[in-house]
Assembly symmetry: D2
């Protein structure tokens, strides 16, 4: 059994639905398939806009909702679907309209209502798509993800793993060739609809793959896998055939947006392979994310980068020899929910540097200043120093750590090109070398390193 | 007014006392001098041994104490000192004997008694040395540091800066050419004797230099300053003429043992120059530590290293995207008083690495395991990984950060020599590049880098 | 200037409105009057029922709302009010209908919507009543309490005293003979409608009396003041002419329901007299609550009682000599919001007893058991003991404490009547003697004490 | 097996030792006896004086110690004890002298040394007394309590019950007729001597009785048991034949000083009878403390009283209706270690009163003022009110609660006598009625109640 997840761009109109249907049909003989669908491309955003308009007492929302409705009914018509689907979709839109009218009347949005409106897109696309597969002659069953995937409250929304896996046992006993699940949606402890957050449909697919003991998860998107570097910055970038989960997480974390790493945790823990495929070029190999990827020609797997990074440095003579500074510093950052993308402390506790997002700069300065107010007042600690307009670059590859000379190669090519390195770090897991450079240099940096590791080796 | 501090090796016998006397005489015409003396070389350790023996009900302590006493009286005799000093020293030894007998009877050591015994060495050496200077015709006044330098309790013992500086005003009004202060000792809030801890006499000198607004602090020791690398490891190491406080702190922190950085904070904050000089080669230039050192030929000021470092790594898929891990990790290390010599987090929060001392390894594993017990149990975090037999190397130089290519030069020479770099960090203050290598490579590493930066540039 | 507050029973139909109008007219020559009105009797409850029905998707709410609307329009018609009021009331009912429809659609109730619906009753009665006074030829101004009375969030809703009093200054400058304010409603920091909780219209009146520096507050209700005992239990009960605030609070706290004590705090702090009057017998004296009431014939001012009280006792040998038990016990009760009506600890910390409401029994047992789980397990503390079916009786009188023999008289009359006293307490403020007796004895207890203190003295 | 404990007055000289010996001999035929002895009367205080003198560098301590030594040797001589005892006692005094000299030399007292000196009195009396019993022909074994009774650190010193009872198993297997244990002393987790605190020898006896499963514990003192009231205040006071543990604890807690209640916990938990006997009138019955005492003629078991009590009242209108006040009030008192002898809250949370010791008055005012500073500033809570010169009286009797009329009798006799009751409490365990009266009335109060309950009933 395999799980196939199709993102919003893969199911944005009837033509694309046909492409997807062909992909599924091609696999049809090979065993059961579990298909996870996102909402039609752009629908979730549109529904969010509707609810915001309604809460501000703008009747505009009715027009927007109508467009969304028409788009779905056009697909229903073009795919020539059953009356049942027409009724189902129509009822769903009535429900949404009622909720939006309620929001309009009360001028307020509750979590419950927001979830109910924003998750409707997946319910609709799954309804439509499952009927389409039936029309195409496949033995298809539509499942309601809310009955299987349970969340619990904590800080944020956490998956109730135990309950979910227990629920999924029932799915295995249903007779189907193709099971269709709406992505993104789940239900809470009291049965209310909840949403799985950023990367939600990938998460649905990952949860199902793990809970149903599938052999593979295919993520169908609009690119042909992950690349050795961002093709928009490095024209010679190549697709990566295989990589480990850790490498995928590193590249994603440092800028490659194909997957959102936390969604992969269920498959990672169950050692299920993930394949990134392109709906619009289904014959291309894509990228296989697996526990033991075969070696490629280069020891470096790929490069990625993030712009708008600030280098935040706390220093001071009073930091010498007094333990607990790192602890207070990081606790302070964590309490303010400031995301740290790189940590480096190279010297005698006189200074500690972290990479943070430009957006968190003001907050970080304020928070750290207030935490160390007394020490700053006594000149034991300096005012926080922040360097802006930096980018962080990650050179990723699992075997790098065991190969002497990689860091020499990286840094000497940068030296030769006159790039000023503002901070660097390489940790014990030796998976990547990370450093910060001025943003105006980042394109050059990626290209010279890419040339050195991926291109010259072939020549 | 200058402060001159003479360490234990400089005042270990009458011959050395004469050397020191000559150094002071040479300056005599140039204005007032404040002289800080340590206990005679080895005496503090010997007194500690006595008190430990007494607390274990061993009469051995009497013999040891007698030897210490004879050594002091021999110097008194050889230097032909006054009867007054003889009486003073004799009384001091009676007091110590009473305390040690009390410890012997009760078989326990209180903080108060321990301080009183261990600080006696400085009281004796100051008594003897001040009388000797008088005998040599210098206008000398002996001061009791306990009446001026006040500590307060906190975590550890902290200097009561305000009270101390207030007390020191009285010193300025005393008529003297040479003022002698015993190092190491101070007094607490209730007047009880307290000790200034590791590097204590340097700290006394630094406090006096700051509190008396001196122009310079000379630290007289048995080496001719700080070197570009440890001469025992790098035969081509050269003395460093000038350096900044930050550079001195970095080199000291990472292994160069000439000074203990926290003791320099008072002079650093008052921008007082510090000169490291050699009692046994007073004509050699030594090293000047100053706020604006003049540039040397190499952009790198020096190298240092510490052995017996472990690379401690905490990793795990459950660390992705959940804030607060760094905070919990460092709080846990701080609460267990585990000193962290390098921090690096290069990747997607999947892993965080710190360099710690071999001695803290067991404790760190225990503490981190217990902090993350639940997450480890759920396979969200892996068991802490520790790599042993590593050394940390610091390449220090204040202008390094503004010079592209330094890191390239460092890491490519290491790559060429096949050195496997286990972790690296360079922070926002750009004062040094720090990395960890296997200890069996550290001598090679220091030599090849030293060759590259200090030697080849001259050729 | 006086404040007159008319409760729901005083304004439940057009006939009663006329009574109230006559009361106001009678005072008309004596200066400005501030009138606070509750919602028409029963309306608030009815609106609450509507919102609950709507949230459960029951269209029943429409019928209920219609009845409420008809009742208001009948009064408007009977009193022959202005078209303006008709329009105003009609709009208000449209607003309510919209909100209820929103609740019906979303099937959920937010605090904001609940307040808006439930506070509508006072807005309507004030609108109607102020117009009626105008029709009767009085110079009347209708004020919107929400513009003056501000609440702030804390635990529960607290009055923002400073802001409220500042706002009320503007009222003084308005030219009116009669000012009408809706009771119960206020507004929060962002201007949203908030409610003043239990006894809310009394609270409105009390806040206005204090903020407008009035000389007196009249609370018009359906009884002729407070009585020496509950007339339903003690047929010989007499009205109390005068009493202090403290006495009123005690009697109310222990069962006499005429006023809700916290609402009196503003007038108490400003030493404003409060008079309880009967709308249906306006010539009866009622009860005057004042700072220095004149003495009555009996040293005891009145009796009151509450049924359904439990005596909750925590005891155990392990409670002896270990401090902190009372602290833990009361913290535990407070955290569980368990209201304590009597506390008594007569013995050697072996036991501590509190009176609590029957309704809190299960919760209290659970909470205390869990707090002292370890001690109970070790037999240091016994399982909590609870005695049910008890009533608490309070004998109240400010001068009791200074008169020897009151307690003797109370307890010996109980002894003679064979009443088993389960707990008793009299504290330092000597305002009352409180004790617990079996509920089946409470009527007898009240009668024999009442006979002894109020009746026999006259004979 | 019985445990007999003899206090300091019972073993203050050789004559008294003979009395004790006779008591033991009388029981000799009835089975094994475990004898616990205190230090000779006054010795513990004298040793404490010695250590304090020594720590202040006063040689006076030598004279005091000599007197203590002579007193012991006089008993040894008068009782004609063995040479072995003489040597043992002499060694013990040498040890004490060494410790005191150590204290003299170091001018400081550690917990360890203090315990070692202050516990020596019991070691000496047990040594002497056990030898005397041997000389009298009884088969006697001297046990060192330190080897059996183990304490652990917590807040204060707690008994390690498990370890102690395990150790005591070994005692049962020793062949003896009389076992002598020094009271008061025990040992800590590292074997160091610890002391059992106030009432320490009673505690030793109670621990042994429980750990050795004895049938009875006899506490031999210098009074003939517990009395119905303090004979110094009530001339007609009678000895109490039997009473329950709870009653004994109550009477002790409220002033009867014969026993210190916490020491009885071990025997209470094991339901072992305790008999209070008079060494100087061994034929008198004394008082039996037992789980089911037989009824006496009066329903009241006894009266007791404590002077120097203050009635501390916290009141204020702001206390109404806001939960958590009692919690904050008692937490505040507990954190300041203020002992509360009575709690009463009779009224509407407007006021809460506690009885505290005069000595804690200042501290309590300070602490409560600071806790409620804000509320006091806002006039929500009044300044704490304290009434001085009060006494607390407890009327104790286990069956009181089930007998209507007791409280009536108590309070009406007080009323008739014009006694002004300042506070009263009776809790759920109905064991006692407690009230506070002016101290100048307390003698009258005790006498009139005593007359009423104990004397008139016989007439």
């Amino acid at each position: 059994m395999k799980v196939l997840k199709f993102g919003g761009s893969s199911v944005s109109n009837s033509e694309n639905c046909k492409r997807v249907q062909e992909i599924i049909k091609r696999n049809y003989a090979n065993g059961k398939q579990v298909v996870v669908v996102s909402a039609f491309g752009g629908v979730t955003d549109e529904l969010e806009r509707c609810i915001n308009l309604a809460s501000k007492r703008s009747k505009e929302y009715e027009k927007s909702l109508l467009q969304v409705k028409e788009r779905h009914f056009q697909v229903i018509k073009e795919l020539n679907l059953s009356a049942e689907v027409e009724v189902g979709a129509s009822n769903k839109f009535d429900e949404i309209a009622e909720l939006l009218q309620g929001v309009y009347l009360l001028e307020e949005i509750s979590e419950k209502v927001k979830n109910a409106v924003m998750g409707a897109g997946e319910l609709l696309s799954a309804l439509i798509f499952s009927d389409y597969l039936k029309q195409c002659g496949m033995q298809t069953v539509l499942f309601d993800s809310r009955e299987y995937i349970k969340t619990q409250n904590g800080k944020g929304i956490f998956l109730n793993v135990e309950q979910t896996n227990k629920n999924l046992k029932a799915v295995k006993e249903v007779d189907f060739q193709v099971a269709v699940f709406p992505g993104f949606i789940a239900s809470g402890q009291k049965g209310e609809m909840t949403l799985l957050g950023r990367g939600g449909s990938d998460y649905t697919a990952s949860i199902l793959a793990a809970g149903l003991n599938c052999s593979e998860l295919e993520i169908w998107t609009d690119v042909s896998g992950m690349f050795t570097a961002d093709p928009r910055l490095v024209s010679q970038a190549l697709p990566i055939e295989q990589m480990s989960f850790q490498e995928a997480m590193e590249l994603s974390h440092f800028g490659a947006k194909v997957i959102y790493p936390p969604t992969l945790i269920p498959v990672l823990q169950n050692k299920i392979d993930v394949r990134i495929k392109n709906t619009f070029a289904p014959d291309e190999k894509g990228t296989l994310i697996t526990t033991s990827p075969k070696s490629e020609r280069s020891i470096v797997r790929g490069l990625s980068s993030i712009n708008n990074i600030n280098l935040f440095t706390l220093s001071g003579s009073g930091m010498v020899g007094i333990s607990g500074f790192a602890s207070r510093f990081f606790t302070c950052l964590a309490q303010n929910k400031i995301n740290v993308v790189l940590i480096t402390q190279a010297s005698s506790e006189q200074s500690m540097s972290v990479g943070i997002n430009e957006d968190d700069r003001e907050l970080a300065i304020e928070a750290v200043r207030s935490e160390f107010e007394m020490e700053i007042g006594m000149n034991l600690v300096n005012e926080p120093a922040v360097e802006q307009n930096l980018s962080i670059v990650a050179v990723v590859g699992e075997d790098m750590g065991y190969t002497p000379g990689i860091s020499g190669k990286v840094f000497s090519v940068l030296g030769k090109n006159g790039v000023n390195i503002r901070a660097m770090a390489q940790g014990g897991n030796e998976l990547n070398i990370t450093f910060m450079v001025p943003t105006f240099d980042v394109k050059k940096v990626l290209n010279v390193i890419h040339e050195d590791f991926f291109i010259s080796t072939y020549k």
